[in-house]
Amino acid sequence: MPGTTATPDIELIIENTGGGGGGRPPAGGDDGGDDGDYGRHRKRAPSPRRYSTGIAIALVSILMFFMALSSAFIVLRRGSDVWVTVHLPRILWLNTCVLLGSSFTLETARRRLSLADLTGFRKLWLVTTSLGFLFVAGQLIAWRQLVAQGVYIASNQASSFFYIFTGAHAIHLLGGVAALLYVSFRKFEKANILLSHAAEITSYYWHFMDGLWIFLLALLYLGK
């Protein structure tokens, strides 16, 4: 960012010593100022920080959603004497590898981007997106396998939880896939966010979905 806001920032720091300073500096003071974005003469992209803050808070909320489901799982699992075990389909382990692999390719893609290798980035990003689709497809196969065994969502509590956990995770993951596609196809010359920032924010979400899946799988495996 060009240093157009340097002078107001300095004034601000001087002002801070007067009244109730002490808190953290005003948002955007270090990256050029969000609030200056809409000024007449300094029109430019809003700081990406609002997006990263937004995604961080949204992740906390999503975590809370899955924690509520997990605690319901634990409460019912411990309180129930007739727990019917659902044997996890083997393909889940393959899916897990696919998802972990996608996180790896995503990070490699971002490294390419930071080295200004745009074609390498596009290629790896596409691989990540495909792996994302592959994971969802794998989850669908797992569902079909269970259905073939006669295990439906309403069969027993364990199966209900299996479908709810995998289903809710898949829906959230599809949101991540949408973000991956957005980064692939968006013309960032016209966007108000830089490609690198969009990729970074998508990566937060994607890795979180990755970790969440590991957690849910562990919960289903240990609690079966």
Partner: protein, 571 residues
């Protein structure tokens, strides 16, 4: 730097900043699908106004039905006069009031309008998301109301779906609020300089992010029970071979946990913004800084934190680990600490102040009174031994209506009288407002205090028949009294409606920016707020939010946006 970085989501304020004079064209883009935070805030307020009158009509129907069951009533006798209808009425009243009035008005309504103005932002962080969350809220209101009108079995499914939709809307709204407060503040608006209203909205948004997810998860499980016939909560078929007491205890407890985890915190979701509003009003109309401002911020955080943890309080009577009631009892009682800090701060601010006793201030004082009265009965409920043994429905109904429903409504009304000039460029009528205040104040005490007594009477241990008969007689006359008082209180709200509508079109015009001589940023712009908010200038903040009666200054207030060299010194 590329010339035009404008995307769809950012069109409104980017173009607004560049051509401040040009109004948005078309009815739809201006009122229905506007991403402007002021429009959305007002839409939320209209929605709440509609819901509060609908909900009030429901409560009137219920009270009349309780006392004179034979009377022909719309919605009850017209739609099969069954106990189901009465339960549906209670559900609709509760969901309208809690979700669309108490949650939506102080947070989404006033918050959307005034949070960006108070922190010197031009827009919320994500305007399109804001628009989306409003319309999703409207969908949930329609769903909740429709659920009442269709057959109960399907109606409940629709209702749960609407609640889930409301959760999603609140989550989007809370996300927007927290990011806006963290990232889009004006220059110089450091955290200690934030007005307490903003602090309350912010803490509330964080709390909302946590608890609405939980309710959403509970709703997902419940919906899957009803639609996909899973067994998260229902003790049906597959546990049929279990002894009945195990089934009865195990499954509803899960629902109650998940539900109360949300619902107890929901009380604080409704109350937190009201604490902020009341503190703000009291400081402004006492012409004094908020006493112990930092401590008040900590207390607001404390309310959020403890409020999040007290869910187990509601489980006293449903059988938990014997140690957990003690923990939750302590937590529930520890809510008294931040509440006491707030109360002391309010009284400290009022102490020796030159109080301007206008309607807005009256409502703020009424809030304190109701909060204190309702909070005291809460101490009884926090004692797990008392709560399980001696307290019945009426006591709890009285308690939470006083502390949550009515107190919050008083804060909302106070804020409305305070901000009306900024919203519409006119004042609400003061004498009419004062009459409305006193009638409502007397009315709500007459309604909800006897309810506490009714609750205590139900459990009074009287052995002999004659005493019992006397208690029953007193009880039924109390019920009649409550119903008559409800009727009168609801009628008094007509006064408010008249005042509101009359002032909207004919009220005394406000020409100046700052009629209340208040300090925060929203009073630095014209009344009503111009479409482009701060216009071309960038707001800069130089001091804290409550600089009243500063020694050595000519006026008794120093606005936040006034540069130090502009402050007129006293002679």
């Amino acid at each position: 730097m590329p010339g035009s970085r404008v995307t769809n989501s950012m069109v409104t304020y980017d173009s607004g900043a560049n051509q401040p004079e040009k109004p948005e064209a078309g009815f739809f883009s201006r009122y229905v699908f506007s991403t402007n935070h002021k429009t959305i805030g007002l839409q939320y307020l209209w929605l709440a106004l509609f819901s509060v009158f609908l909900g009030m009509a429901m409560s009137l129907l219920m009270r009349i039905h309780l006392v004179w069951p034979g009377v022909h009533l719309p919605f009850l006798s017209t739609l099969n006069n069954t106990p189901d209808r009465y339960a549906a009425l209670t559900t609709l009243h509760g969901s309208l009031m809690v979700f669309l009035v108490l949650t939506a008005a102080p947070q989404a309504g006033f918050g959307n309008y005034f949070l960006p103005l108070q922190i010197g932002a031009r827009e919320m962080a994500f305007p399109t998301l804001n628009l989306l969350s409003f319309w999703v809220t409207v969908v949930s209101l329609i769903g909740m109301t429709a659920a009442f009108l269709i057959a109960p079995e399907r109606g409940i499914t629709v209702w749960i779906l609407s609640v889930a939709i409301f959760c999603a809307a609140s989550l989007l709204n809370a996300l927007n609020f927290s990011v806006t407060t963290i990232e889009v503040r004006a220059k110089g608006m450091t955290l200690p300089r934030l007005p307490l209203t903003v602090w309350a909205w912010f803490i509330n948004a964080i709390l909302g992010m946590l608890i609405f997810s939980i309710l959403l998860a509970a709703c997902v499980c419940l919906l899957s029970d009803r639609l996909l016939s899973t067994h998260f909560f229902s003790p049906l078929n597959f546990l049929a071979n279990q002894p009945p007491n195990v089934v009865a205890n195990a499954l509803p407890v899960l629902w109650r946990r998940l539900f109360w985890f949300f619902a107890q915190s929901e009380v604080y979701v409704a109350m937190l913004p009201c604490f902020g509003l009341t503190t703000h009003l009291i400081s402004t109309f006492s012409r004094k800084p908020v006493w112990m401002e930092r401590l008040v911020v900590l207390a607001l955080c404390g309310v959020g934190l403890f409020g999040f943890c007290v869910w187990g309080e509601h489980m006293f009577s449903s059988g938990m680990n014997p140690f957990s009631p003690l923990v939750f009892s302590l937590l529930a009682s520890s809510l008294g600490l931040p509440a006491t800090i707030l109360l002391i701060s309010w009284l400290g601010t009022l102490w020796n102040a030159r109080i301007q006793l206008n309607t807005s201030m009256l409502f703020a004082l009424g809030f304190i009174s109701l909060f204190l009265a309702g909070g005291l009965s809460g101490i009884f409920l926090a004692r797990h031994d008392l709560a399980s043994a001696a307290v019945s429905d009426d006591f709890i109904t009285g308690h939470f209506h006083l502390v949550m429903g009515v107190a919050a409504t008083f804060a909302i009304l106070g804020a409305l009288f305070f901000w009306f000039p900024k919203l519409f460029g006119r004042r609400l009528n003061e004498p009419l407002g004062k009459i409305h205040f006193w009638l409502t104040f007397a009315g709500v005490y007459s309604v909800f205090m006897p309810m506490h007594w009714l609750g205590l009477m139900t459990h009074s241990r009287v052995s002999s028949g004659r005493q019992l008969a006397a208690v029953v007689a007193a009880g039924s006359s109390l019920r009649v009294f409550i119903t008559v008082a409800t009727l009168l209180t609801v009628l008094a709200q007509g006064l408010f409606l008249i005042n509101f509508l009359w002032s909207l079109f004919r009220g005394e015009k406000v020409a100046e920016c700052n009629p209340w001589r208040a300090t925060t940023l929203e009073w630095s712009v014209g009344s009503p707020t111009p479409a482009d908010g701060f216009g071309a200038s960038e707001p800069v903040v130089y001091r804290g939010a409550y600089e009243f009666s500063v020694p050595g200054v000519a006026e008794d207030f120093v606005p936040q946006h006034l540069a130090p060299e502009q402050v007129v010194k006293a002679r």
